[in-house]
Amino acid sequence: MRQVFNGFQSFMQQGGGGLLLPEMMLVLFAMGILLTDYLLEARDKYFNALMAMLGVMFSAICLWQLRGAADSGPMGFSRSLLVDPFFLFFGFIFLIATALVIILSVRYLQIEDENHGEYYALMLFATVGMMFMASGYDLVVQFLGLETMAISFYVLAGFLRRDKRSNEGAVKYLLLGAFSSAILAYGFSILYGIGAMANLSSIGQTLPPRTNLDVIAVAVEARGHADLFVLLALATVGAGLFFKVAAVPFHQWAPDVYEGAPTPITAYISVASKTASFALLLRLLLTVFWPVRVDWEMLIAGVAIASLTVGNLAAITQTNVKRMLAYSSISHVGYILLGIVAAASSPLGFLTGMKGVAFYLFVYGFMTIGAFAVLIVLQRQGIIGDELDDLNGLYRRSPLSALVLLIFMLSLAGIPPLAGFVGKYFILQALIETGHNRLALFGALYIVPALYYYFRIVMHAYLYEPGNAPLPVVTIGQRVAFAVMCFVTVAAGVYPEPFVRLATYSLFFPSGFSGH
């Protein structure tokens, strides 16, 4: 084993290839799953999940090995890939989310009787796409990463072939997603055009392609702010990515897709896809669009307020828990965008704001997957189990799941001492620090309606009579997943220091970028 690791390391040092290892591991295992799936009996299908977990583990090991190299920010493949702490941070979020969703999927697929190997293979492919979204330093690589992820998700969302809602959600997702990808591609093409005008002599000896982010950044800076083409690129790229993170006004797909998709995939879309799109958005905003940040600061603030408003108010009236969580996740996007606004507005706010964004994205994953995990536990043969009434008296039926549900709901709402509170705290702190008092007031007051709808869930679980619903069964795998998610949610709230340090680490940009 030791030798293998050493081998990896020498491979890495030789050139660009080593930077790809985490992604290569995932591809390898995904292929393996597709090959061996045909050999498995129906009752041995859990073996696929095992393979997928192994793939994630190996990928994580490779990613961990890269941490030494990441401090100097090596670039590979004609400067189209960048391995830096930012990538490592997000890479680990993707892998953790993938691992948790794999654990939660096993029983779900058995119950739904859709236990196919493609499911896990597609998950790994989606993860590969996300990794490229975070590490890509070139428009083409980023776009390919995004599409790899998106196409995998289109299939996964419709994985319950016999369920109308799943099909409906998948088609909606595909049509609207393709549309938004096209808009994004259009934006990228404008950026490519702008890149042609760059004075490349300032970049260095070896000329990188015109799609490289550094090249475009130089060109954008040269054109200055309020330039028509830059604004057009900003608007189209923004629209494409706001769709992916489900920010208002590009959010309409979210409730339908969330409701229709298999619940583990809902959790996965809501966490991993969103985090990856944020990674891409942040990468673009911090490089290409950073010189013109005055142009987009208010744009993002507007989208953030709209997301908070629509997300929080629409969630109040939902009776389907998955739809409610869809709207609530829209409101979380609003908070994260507010953090970006604060980060862009002044050097002071940059560190706090970005720290807040990174911390928020990290803990958001755990608590959101946790909330969906409770629904997965409740799911039974033939019954979806995602209406509010399905939760009635959960406390009597399964105190354990009710307790973890309470923790996740409190954390999502932002009640101390849980992780969600600390995330919101950092965002609000950055806003106050940069003088955005009104935005802070908006953000703070929307905690109140959020608490109301999260506590509708709690109310059903704790204060209503159970009726004659059967006792949910929590498997060992699900228990482990619950334990991990609860631990992070509680620990990041009670003692956030290590998690704050982790978030700060992700902001270490070796390329010399330090905010302002």
Binding site: P416, L428, Q429, N437, A444, V448, Y452, E497
Partner: protein, 548 residues
């Protein structure tokens, strides 16, 4: 023991938490075990807090915040685990541990279902409340302030009466609105003061240097959290619902301790944040005084109309707490110390009244006044205790309520006689609704046959009520120790926010001992406002009684 000596506040704070952790491991169906353990830790919480009384130093050289403990918690933002108490918090901490022990005892037979969760949540609630009074770090304070809402939500929502779901979420949302605005206020204060620390005394001391606009904004940012908690008119609408629907012990804690978190916040944070500029300050103080007066009278008038005993007592809290805010914003030593004393009084007497309603509710399962009548015949001992609690609440001399109200009125008198005149109307109305309630419930013939054979108090009910009654008498007859404990913090606050006060006093009474040593000052006479020392009421309560 060594740990206890050096970390006494931590021990007091987390003893209930240990209790709830122990309860987690007790099987679900052994209700008696839950009750025993719950009571054990409730009582233990009181016992470990008792040494605070005699270890608390009154020596002027001692630091203001005693039993300090400071540890780094989140170094990256400057939050500490910092505890410490001064005289004001000492009294409130003791009130909390006492009322928690009593209300846990009072729940013995009232709570029949989900006993395990009940005691776990109750003990968690106690941790949250104690933390609020002990924290010396804004971040820690905010955490306790919010975390306490969750157990209270469940106490109302699970064990409450008919409209409990509505009342529970209303309570949670109302208080949350104020809290999140306060969070922004804390953050603004943090950055205005330079950032880097959440230490309360540092931040509050630096507030004096801000410009007037910032100070005004900060004041209002904190105002909502406390005004909703107190609750001040017009933010009081959550209170009748929550108090009425909560189980007896929940009402006792709500009225006895939770509301005091609001007044405590006013004293600890809002007063130091008052703008230095005299016009801006005058405007704010006038608003607060007027709103308090409205609260006193409005609360009392609404009480007259209530059909439900619990709702009546709930509204009486609006009126009584408005007295406390009146005293606070008089910005005089008398007003302030009277206000703190009155908070303790309110905790004792209203706590007792809620327990009394609980006693009746356990026997008859109704709270409607019209269902009762002539209860003094079947329940003579109950009638006596109820009478004392009523008299204490309406402010009869020799009982505690009088001391508090009298000192507050004196403090207010130094500002303007107009406020006193209005507030006195509230006292009169208070006597009216409390006595009328007593009369309707206790006197006359037994009209309802269901009431004919009601059992008198049992031993456990005596154990919950008698300590409160004793304390009511003690504060009414010999309140000096309380005033002595309050003397220094009150003096420091007044010096900071009303620096002209002691100067004017020296000019008005040159012959008297310097104002910095008020304990030794002469006997106050109502005609000389400058000389109305807190301790004067303490040393000679009897003559004042006669004057009134």
């Amino acid at each position: 023991m060594e740990f206890y000596n050096t970390h006494i506040l931590t021990v007091v704070l987390f003893t209930p938490l240990v209790g709830s952790l122990v309860l987690l491991f007790v099987p679900r169906d052994s209700a008696t075990a839950h009750r025993v353990i719950g009571n054990l830790f409730g009582f233990l919480g009181l016992i470990v807090s008792l040494p605070l009384i005699w270890r608390f130093s009154l020596d002027p050289a001692a630091p203001r915040y005693q039993f300090p403990e400071t540890y780094d918690w989140i170094p990256s933002i400057g939050a500490h685990y910092a505890l410490g108490i001064d005289g004001i918090s000492l009294l409130l901490v003791m009130l909390t541990t006492l009322l928690c022990a009593i209300s846990i005892l009072s729940s013995w037979s009232a709570i029949k279902m989900r006993t395990k969760e009940y005691y776990i949540l109750f003990l968690l609630l106690q941790v949250g409340m104690l933390g609020v009074f002990m924290a010396l770090d804004f971040f820690l304070f905010y955490m306790f302030w919010e975390v306490m809402l969750v157990p209270m939500y469940f106490l109302i929502g699970v064990w409450g009466s008919d409209r409990r779901l509505y009342a529970a979420i209303k309570f949670f949302l109302y208080t949350l609105v104020g809290s999140v605005i306060m969070l922004l206020g804390i953050l603004a204060l943090y950055f205005k003061a330079g950032g880097g620390t959440f230490d309360m005394p540092t931040l509050l001391a630096s507030a004096a240097q801000f410009d007037t606009r910032t100070q005004v904004l900060l004041f209002w940012a904190f105002f909502f959290a406390f005004a909703i908690k107190v609750p001040m008119f017009p933010f009081h609408t959550w209170l009748p619902d929550a108090h009425t629907e909560a189980p007896t012990a929940g009402s006792v804690i709500l009225a006895g301790v939770l509301l005091k978190m609001g007044t405590y916040g006013f004293i600890r944070f809002s007063l130091p944040l008052l703008p230095v500029d005299p016009t801006a300050r005058h405007k704010i103080v006038t608003i607060m005084m007027v709103v308090s007066i409205i609260g006193i009278i409005y609360g009392a008038l609404v009480c007259m109309m209530q059909k439900d005993m619990k709702k009546l007592i709930a509204y009486s809290s609006v009126s009584h707490l408005a007295f406390c805010t009146l005293g606070i914003f008089a910005l005089t030593p008398n007003g302030l110390s009277g206000s703190v004393i009155q908070q303790i009084n309110h905790g004792l007497s209203t706590g007792a009244l809620f327990l009394i309603v609980g006693v009746l509710y356990e026997r008859r399962h109704t709270r409607l006044i019209s269902e009762y009548g002539g209860l003094s015949t079947p329940m003579p001992n109950f009638a006596a205790i109820y009478m004392i609690a009523t008299l204490s609440s309406l402010g009869l001399p020799l009982l505690n309520g009088f001391i508090g109200e009298f000192v507050i009125l004196r403090g207010t008198y130094e500002v303007s006689i107009k406020y006193v005149a209005w507030a006195v109307i509230g006292i009169v109305l208070g006597a009216a609704y409390l006595l009328w309630l007593y009369q309707r419930v206790m006197f006359g013939p037994v009209t309802n046959p269901a009431n004919e054979h009601l059992a008198d108090l049992n031993a456990r009910e005596y154990a919950t009520l008698v300590p409160l009654i004793i304390l009511c008498f003690w504060i009414g007859i010999y309140p000096k120790p309380l005033f002595r404990v309050l003397e220094r913090p009150v003096q420091q606050i007044v010096e900071q926010i009303n620096p002209g006060y002691y100067g004017a006093e020296r000019a008005a009474a040159p012959a008297a001992t310097p104002a910095l040593a008020p304990a030794e000052a002469g006997v106050g006479t109502p005609g000389m406002p400058g000389m109305n020392m807190p301790s004067s009421t303490g040393t000679s309560p009897a003559p004042e009684t006669e004057k009134k």
